[in-house]
Amino acid sequence: MNLPSSVMGAMRAAGLSPSIRGFSDEATVAPTTAEQAAAVLAAAAAENLSVGFRGAGTRHEVGGTRTYAIGMLSSRMAEVIDWPVEDLTIVVGSGMTVDQLEPMLNAKGQTSLLPTGDPHRTVGGIVAEGESGYGRLKHGPTRDRVLEVTLATGYGKVVRGGGRLVKNVTGYDLPRLVTGSLGSLGFIASVCLKLWPLPQQRSIARVDDAAAAYEQLYRPFAVVEPDTGSYVVLEGSGEDISVQASSIGARIDDGAVLPPVIGEPILISIRVPPARLSEARRLVIDRQPDRFIAQHGVGIIDAGWSKLALNQFVELRKDIERLGGSAVVLRSSGLLPGVDPWGTAPPTMAIQRRLKQLFDPSGICNPGKLPGGL
């Protein structure tokens, strides 16, 4: 199928030449400005053509695998737009990858605290998914660090929400709403992130009992329990870190590194109230994952399987939902056919549907990615 001439025309008018390569979409387009993205979305909306938003494509299975008429890439929006270094904020295009962003920030003694396990991931992709890095226990989720967003909406307008300020209650919180919205409201063109200064030092200590370490320590950076042992990550001066570690009878392990991202074909994100993490961990281990990483105090366990029987997964999800959590399929590589990636939809679907409808009246923006098939 060829794209309608109105859509082709809108792309050309925006100075874009659609390409037929990449992903499984009919055509892809890589805007360089939010306005170009909005023009393409307006034309696509008029023709009811679905548009899939693409970052690095590393997590394209989140929310389920779909094909769209048009793939919109963020790859040509990868620049620093504004970086007032002393204000500890940065505005970047959504296509910037974390391996471009973090070394640049680190060189000035700063960090975005975004997850860096997969260096190819884009800022836009991480924000759209709402994923947080290991420092969430101490520094809060990614959502709390997205200060401003520029969005090309499903109705074809460029809108800006929030501001380039670390503290702001001026109007409704569009940046936090867009974070984790999986492109359902529009294409994220750029974001302003709140940065943190790098600590003097960050060290890893091995512990016997991660849950006890979480209880005893005062605001550690992370308490992580992968399948290979239990670790606490501590920040501060060298002396401070040693004092913290010895307070729980742990020793700094200079050779230790945080576990790499899980590469197994099936990747499930278990999210439970932090107080239920140990129970959830047992439920996961019962299903013999090849790898898992549990974050104490946060309530997240990422677990990977090379294969997992469908009924095993269904039972696991039931158990996790009984704990008040969810078992989200981030990747299944076709090995869990027919499984809803999200599980039981949240109780607020009526309001979510209206929000989707108001931001994307034609239902063209990443359709089907949200729970309930939105």
Binding site: P84, E86, D87, G109, G130, P141, D144, T153, V159, R160, G161, L165, V166, K167, N168, V169, T170, G171, Y172, D173, L174, R176, L177, T179, S181, S184, P197, L198, P199, E215, Y218, R219, G236, S237, S269, R271, P273, P274, A275, G299, I300, G324, G325, S326, V328, W342, G343, P346, P347, T348, M349, I351, Q352, R354, L355, K356, L358, L370, P371, G372
Partner: protein
């Protein structure tokens, strides 16, 4: 049946106030606006709130939620004759989870009462607005309240995990979850700070923080504002964000000293109040770092308090600022702009110039660490023409902040007071997008109508129903 009779049948006469004296009390918040009240009701359960909402909708009466009424922006003040749903009787702590460090509380619970009752468990609720002895958690949620300790820990939205919400349809829903990253759109994030325009919060799941094992409070005097501001920037850039970084200028310090005698130096241009919390070693490390930065920026005096009595005294000075102002003049007008931290000195200079030009008395106390300014004008409203001068000066101060890349509000909210200034910060398309958020929750615009967004925010608005 008239609305009042139906409300009395629902809640009993004691919990439905409509005597003219009551209506006069509830016509105002702590700011400068007032509005017409039909009745003020005091429900005790979500079901009662939902029933009140349905009655008000049936009668076409707008609903205005209210906590303690300490807001400064008119968020709890009706524009058209409205029904005030006051949540102060819903002030229970329902459930505390010490391992998960969360608690379900009623929206009427007073902010400080929550932290006080958690003290024995070593936990606290981080947002600490100056009004915390009176303001409610529900009100804090409504405005996304801040406070000195939000520098490191973030404003209220970072501390609310979930809320039970009565919607404009009278449904009771839970937004958010005690588990992280609930699938779907994060409705919780837009409910916090929505000033009661998206529904009425009837229960709140708050995140609790560990009480710090050690703390030090530093009071540093500077002979110029510039030196104080440079110290703030250098501290932040040094790699440690203190728990709080507050600044007061000389007029404010003089007012505070006359009021509470906290021992602040009155012979300096500005004082910086810094608080450092954490492990013993990190407090010692950061304290000496701040001292050396202050010295290299020409600090005139440095006082370090580590015992709790002396720390409390230093904080008493800061926390008494607004009380101190009321000793100076019968009225004050307070703004809440935010500017990028690096523009603090420049904008403060403009604020002093504006005050001088309008002949109004200016005092400044503010959250320097996050660039949240509170220019405060003390005045006597009985003086003819004074209020107009104060408003004109305040308006200019807001514009100066925005021209420096700042915004209208850091923690007080928009309400009525700053609503019509929103176009200074957002263009038509931005405001239209925000109005869409609102319409997804409350298409009939029955919940606190006329707040936050100026009229006509929805582009192509065919209904014409907007206030």
């Amino acid at each position: 049946m008239p609305l009042i009779d139906e409300l009395v049948a629902l809640l009993g006469p004691e919990r439905v106030r409509h005597h003219p004296l009551d209506l006069a009390v509830f016509a105002k918040d702590a700011g400068v606006t007032s509005g017409p009240v039909v009745a003020a009701v005091f429900p005790e359960t979500a079901a009662e709130v939902a029933a009140c909402v349905k009655l008000a909708v049936t009668h076409g009466v707008p609903i205005v939620p209210r906590g303690a009424g300490t807001g400064l922006a008119g968020g709890a003040v009706p524009i058209d004759p409205g029904l005030l749903i006051v949540v102060t009787r819903m002030n229970q702590i329902h459930e505390i989870d010490e391992i998960g460090r969360t608690a379900w509380v009623g929206p009427g619970l007073i902010n400080l009462d929550l932290s006080t009752s958690l003290a024995s468990r070593g936990l606290h609720f981080a947002p600490d607005p100056s009004s915390q002895r009176a303001s409610t958690i529900g009100g804090n949620v409504g405005t996304n309240a801040g406070g000195p300790h939000c520098l490191a820990d973030g404003t209220t939205v970072a501390h609310i995990l979930a809320a039970e919400l009565v919607t404009a349809d009278g449904d009771i829903v839970i937004v958010g979850s005690d588990a992280p990253d609930l699938p779907g759109l994060d409705l919780r994030a837009v409910v916090v700070g929505s000033e009661g325009t998206l529904g009425i919060v009837t229960k709140v799941l708050v995140r609790l923080m560990q009480n710090p094992p050690n703390a030090a409070t530093l009071l540093i005097g500077f002979s110029t504002i510039q030196d104080a501001a440079a110290t703030v920037s250098r501290i932040i850039a040094s790699g440690s964000i203190p728990a709080a970084l507050e600044m007061m200028d000389r007029p404010m310090v003089e007012a505070v000293e006359a009021f509470v005698q906290a021992g602040y130096p009155t012979d300096v241009a500005a004082v910086l109040l810094a608080e450092v919390t954490g492990t013993g070693q990190s407090v010692a490390d950061t304290t000496s770092l701040i001292e050396s930065i202050a010295h290299s920026n020409n600090a005139a005096s440095i006082r370090v308090a580590t015992d709790s009595a002396e720390r409390a005294l230093l904080w008493k000075g800061r926390k008494s600022a607004f009380g101190a102002v009321s000793q100076k003049a019968p009225d004050y007008y307070l703004h809440d702009t935010v500017v990028p931290r690096t523009r603090l000195v420049e904008v403060l200079g403009q604020i002093y110039e504006i005050g001088e030009r309008h002949g109004v008395e200016m005092l400044n106390v503010f959250h320097a660490g996050d660039g949240n300014l509170h220019p405060l004008v003390a005045f006597d409203a009985n003086e003819p023409g004074m209020f107009e001068r104060v408003r004109a000066a305040a308006d200019e101060m807001v514009r100066a902040s925005i021209e420096a890349g700042g915004t209208l509000s850091g923690e007080h909210g928009i309400g009525i007071e700053k609503r019509d200034l929103m176009p200074l910060v957002f263009n038509e398309a931005d405001l239209d997008a925000q109005a869409r958020i609102r319409d997804a929750f409350d298409p009939q615009r029955i919940m606190n109508p006329g707040k936050v967004l100026p009229s006509g925010s929805r582009c192509f608005d065919a209904s014409g129903a907007r206030l």
